[in-house]
Each structure stands twice: as C-alpha cells, then as structure tokens.
C-alpha cells in the first residue's frame, strides 16, 4: 500500500485521527461543561463524573486547579490530534509537496516545541503549584518530536521548491 495520495495509508490515518479528534473534542467539551456546571457527584473531597454512553466514570480530587488541569490537558490533546490529522490530510492529496503541507507541518512543530513546554510550566508550576519536576518527560518527548518535524518541514519546503521548478519546466 502506498504511503501518500488518495487511497493510501495517509488517507486512512487522516480519517482515523480526525475521528479520534471529533470524539475527544466532544469528550473535552462534556468534561469542561460538567466541571463548570457541577454535573458530577462530590464526596469526601473527591468527585465522580459519569461518562454517558460508555457507562464509565472519571474521578479524582475535587479541586478547581485539578478541573482546570484536566480541561486544559484534554484541550491540548484535541488540538494536537486535529493538527496531526490536518498533516495527513495534505499527505493524501495527489501532489505531495505543497505550500499548505509546509505550513501545517510548521504549525505542528511549533505546537510541540513551544506549546507543550509552555503548557507544562503553566499547569505544573502555576495551576497545580508543584515544586518538583515530575512528568518532565512529557514536554521533552514533545520537544524531540517538534525538532524532528521541524527537519521534516525543511525537507518538505525544499521539495516544494523543486516541485515548483519542475512544474515550470516546459
């Protein structure tokens, strides 16, 4: 099976990640609205929120900063998957090297390089008020991924230039 173009692995991954994005987006909205409106059970300083359709629940400490952390974390995950699905959307086109592919890869690289560490600092030290650096591996993984994508973006940019020159060869 081919990697790029219509009816390729990229097309399959686009539909897969876009479906997960929609599902996670709905879940994020439900959780955030439920936290905001108090749509959960509260007992002994802990909350328990039922997840409709799945007949499951999430639970944890009943604290505002925990609610904010979960909501922001889920929102970041939704944005991450949305941007990832957008990259696969450009990969499933007939023409691989396009300006939109370069733009979307660049945006995704920036999200990983800047967005993730920024989110870690905000959540870990400002919202949760931790004084340790546990879970530091998360932003490190994102930064590594961001660097790799940044190199991939540079390759795609060069590919786009070569493609443009080739298209203008008569």
């Amino acid at each position: 099976m081919k990697m790029f173009g219509p009816k390729s692995i990229s097309a399959f991954l686009f539909y897969l990640f876009r479906s997960i994005t929609i599902g996670l987006g709905i879940f994020t909205s439900y959780v955030a609205i439920s936290f905001g409106t108090g749509n959960f059970e509260s007992m002994d300083g802990r909350y328990k929120m039922n997840i409709p359709l799945l007949e499951n629940y999430i639970h944890g400490e009943h604290k505002t900063n925990v609610f904010i952390t979960i909501s922001i974390g889920l929102l970041f995950g939704t944005i991450f998957l949305y941007m990832l699905s957008n990259i696969f959307k450009t990969f499933k086109r007939e023409t691989l090297f396009t300006q939109i592919a370069v733009k979307r890869m660049n945006q995704f690289a920036l999200l990983n390089l800047l967005g993730s560490p920024f989110l870690y600092l905000i959540i870990h030290y400002i919202i949760m008020k931790h004084n340790h650096y546990r879970d530091i591996h998360n932003p490190i993984i994102h930064i590594t991924l961001g660097l790799l994508i940044l190199y991939g973006t540079a390759v795609f940019k060069r590919g786009f230039e070569v493609q443009s020159e080739h298209d203008l060869t008569i």
């Binding site: 443009s164 020159e165 203008l168 060869t169 008569i170």
Partner: protein
C-alpha cells in the same frame, strides 16, 4: 542577468499563432504561454528542438541573454 524568450517575435515573423505552434509541438497553450511570458524556470531540450524544427530557426533566435539593467 536574464534569459529573454523571443518566441513572440519569431512567431510574428512566421505569421503563426501560439495555438498552432502548441498543437504542432504537442504542448498545451497554457504551457506555451508560460514559456512566452518568461515565467518558465527551464525548457527541455526536446521542447526547444520541437520549436526550432517547427519554426525553422535556431535556439538563439528564441532565447537571448540580456543583463538585468538592460531588461528594464
């Protein structure tokens, strides 16, 4: 430095239309227009050969080198 395409001049001398040349050498009118307007990045030897054959001219009649200053 710049390469100037004088295809219009040669076509006018031969009293030939762009459409006729495009059909004769087997490229689209749009591509011939890109070539005539100087927007093309490169020209294949095969295309140049076909143009020269059809217009009975030399590559130098179609392509000309001019310094940038003299282009304006």
């Amino acid at each position: 430095m710049g390469i100037v395409v004088n295809l219009d001049v040669v076509l006018a001398k031969r009293k030939m239309k762009s459409k006729e040349l495009a059909e004769a050498i087997g490229i689209t009118e749009a591509n011939l227009s890109i070539l005539k307007s100087g927007k093309a990045k490169a020209i294949r030897f095969s295309t140049l050969e076909a143009i020269c054959k059809e217009l009975e001219c030399q590559p130098g009649d179609i392509l000309e080198f001019r310094l940038k200053e003299s282009l304006t």
